[in-house]
Structure formats: C-alpha cells, structure tokens
Symmetry: C2
Subunit: 156 residues, 2 copies
C-alpha cells in the first residue's frame, strides 16, 4: 500500500481589460483596480506599474510576508522592515528574461540578542518564498540588520 501526502492546491485569478493605447486595468476580486502599461523603454507612458515592476515587487513582497510569518512563529519582535529590490532584465538566447533579482531588506530589532535570529529568519524566508521558487532568475539577498538605539531620556 502506497501512502501519499496530499498537499493543497491553490488558485489565483486576475482579470485585465485594455483601456487605450498600451494601457490596461488589472483587477482581482474586490481588490483596488490597478492601471498597468509597459515601461517607457518599451513605449509605455511611464508613471504606471509595469509587468516588470510587478514581477520584481512580487518577489520582494513574498520575501517580506514569508519573513513576517516566520517571525511570528519564532516570536521574533520587530521594530521595522523595509526593503528595496532590483530586477535585471537581459537578452538570453534572443529573448528577454529576468536573470537576477536582488533583494535588500533592512530589518530593525529592539534587542541586540535578536540580530542573529533575524538574519537566520531572513535566510529561511529567502529559501521558502514561493515566488522565488517559481522563477528562473537567481535571487540574491543582501540583508541589513539594525538594532534600535534606545533614546536618551534625560538631558545632560
């Protein structure tokens, strides 16, 4: 008798409607609609989210939400989390594709003893981010961990 582990399968649905020129409007259930267009280098108007931005942002946001989930589990107390991400689009064999995504998160903790735990949690998040697992590009994590300096509560 063979025993298999059953894993859940999830579906994510989005809708898109062309509005004018090269622009469209994305929607997904009751979420706020989002205008989308190509970047200026591909003849878009600029000032709107592009498929390229959304791809990079998805990796960045997934890294954060995975990190936050692990932080809750590990009872790691955070002061702040912010990050920037840069995706590199290159021509590979005649077609453009993203080859690298660099994620630079800055995590601030209150307790100096939490620095190494925060770093380990970021590594876990990088390894388990489901968007990173779904792309061909290499994801590089460049973390910065800060400790909140307690403010001086007394003057001189």
């Amino acid at each position: 008798m063979e025993i298999k582990t059953a894993f859940k399968v999830f579906h994510y649905d989005t809708q898109l409607e062309w509005t004018h020129e090269r622009e469209g409007e994305l929607s997904s259930g009751d979420k706020p609609p989002l205008a989308v267009a190509p970047p200026p280098e591909f003849k878009g108007p600029g000032g709107l989210w592009t498929p390229e931005d959304m791809f990079v942002a998805a990796v960045d946001a997934c890294t954060m939400t995975t990190f936050l989930a692990f932080a809750v589990k590990k009872q790691l107390s955070l002061v702040s989390y912010e990050s920037s991400a840069r995706g590199t689009l290159e021509n590979v064999g005649g077609k453009f594709q993203f080859t690298q995504i660099e994620i630079s998160p800055t995590v601030t903790v209150a307790n100096p003893a939490d620095v190494s735990r925060a770093e380990a949690t970021l590594q876990d998040a990088e390894a388990h981010c489901l968007i990173s697992n779904s792309i061909k590009a290499t994801v590089h994590l460049k973390p910065t961990i800060l400790v909140l300096q307690p403010e001086s509560v007394e003057g001189n």
Copy 2:
C-alpha cells in the same frame, strides 16, 4: 576577431515598507503606492493585492502589452482586448511553487479577415512575453477571437 551582439540590460526597482501585521506598502518611482499582504489562506486580511496575484497579473499584463506592441507593428486594428488569468500553486518537492498559468484573452476585431492575424499575433505574444520567459510555470494560452457585429443602423 570576434563580433558579439550587444544587447541592452534593463533594471527595475521597487521599494517595500512593512506597515502593520502582515501588510506592507509597495512603491516604485512616481507610481501609485500599492498595499500588499498575503492571501487569506496564508493568514492575510483579504481585499489586498498579494504577491501571488501580482505574479499572475504580471504574466497576464505582459502577454497583453506584448500583443499590443505586435498589433501596432502589424497594423492590426482592435476593438477590444480583455483577459483573465489563473495561476496554480502546488507543492513541488516540499515547497510551494506556481506550476501553471492559464491566460484566456478575448480579442475583438472589426474585420472578419483579421481573425487569423489576431490569433497568430497572440501566439507571437505568448512566445515573446518576457515575464513568461522568466518563470518556471508552464503558460497556457486559451484565446477567443470575436468579430464585432455591425449594428443595424436602421429600424426594422
């Protein structure tokens, strides 16, 4: 002497800041900021764009913008373009990843002679969408091409 073709390299930058609980705010240059959170099945609040949605939407939007670019080149006149996309997230070897993205575009043309051109242009767009080229998931295109029925301009 070796002659190499030089291709441009492009970079796409996004920023992210944790706001509260599992939510954050994405930004990218002067584009409208976008709230992001995990989906309810991963303990998010619902009603906000998720990394999963953005990933699926990036493939859908890239397919449209690539199609529109080719349509301009081929002087293919369009009445409308709308599409829906569904991404399937599954556990593969112990980790979740997107295994399939189904894109269902509906393209309406005014001229019946343009139906086959529209279909061929969609196939070209699928083959050249740079987001599709950047992901591990299989992208399936399920196109519908419609011809706008001229309205009767007279009564009876």
